[in-house]
Amino acid sequence: MLKAADVEQTLRKGGSARVDDDVAPKFKPGQRVVARNLNPLGHTRVPRYIRGRSGTVDRDHGVFVFPDTNAAGTGKSPQHVYSVRFEASEVWGAETGAKDAIYIDLWDDYLDPV
């Protein structure tokens, strides 16, 4: 149980889901990817509105614990997380904000190459 005297230190320390595991990235910045059409019964962080849509890897954030398996208690499955840029027109249709874009952080297992 968290005690009052430990609150400040606990908050200050935080708890990063970033891990040091040496895992090779499956994708690289500039690469075209498509978000898999995943519909698991359990926890996932791939938003529904992006499933099946194509985008471009903007940057590689490094290696993080994979929430789908971690939440299910089946392991940390460490893997790369990328910021993927999806054009608004790709997600919402051609008439929508041609210049605008959505950047979404996605794990390796949410993506396929285009």
Partner: protein, 211 residues
Amino acid sequence: MPGDDHLHNHDHSDVPSDLALRVKALESLLVEKGLVDPEALNVLIDTYETKVGPRNGAKVVARAWSDPAYKARLLSKGGKAIAELGFTGRQGEDMIVVENTDTTHNMVVCTLCSCYPWPVLGLPPVWYKAAPYRSRAVRDPRGVLADFGVTLPDSVEVRVWDSTAELRYLVLPQRPPGTDGMSENELAALVTRDSMIGTGLAKTPSTKGST
């Protein structure tokens, strides 16, 4: 306070709202079962009511406006640069700072829940956690911006950052005109919480104190 302007056509009583009662009941249970130390709860609440909040982020922004080398560090290694000012901890472990320019406007949302960079902005406002903002920010960001009183020319690209993973985002708003020679403290007073979420702009000196 919300509710202060409600119609007075009902009897006032001292019964708290359903939500407040539910929270109280949960808290009592957690304390009685020995799962939560009420004193620790008090320290937690005090921390986010009086110590950690958007004034932290405003100091980061003011420093970036004043010091180009700091700004470069902030945009390349956000978390480390923010830690230089002493702001670290939970929900700020992996920070990304995105810069607004004449051609790009950034806005942050968490469509899945309410992820928010606590060490620099404190706890999220109610609207940030609510379904209307979370669903519409990605579908119609310019409409949301208009609701917040911000209209951007079509020439500006709007980038919406959906913080679905463990990265937390801070928007570096544009430095307003007419602020040459201002100190960091004066600049920080122009930096609003919403300007660091991207639903607002920093105040110009003439509008300072209007909100």
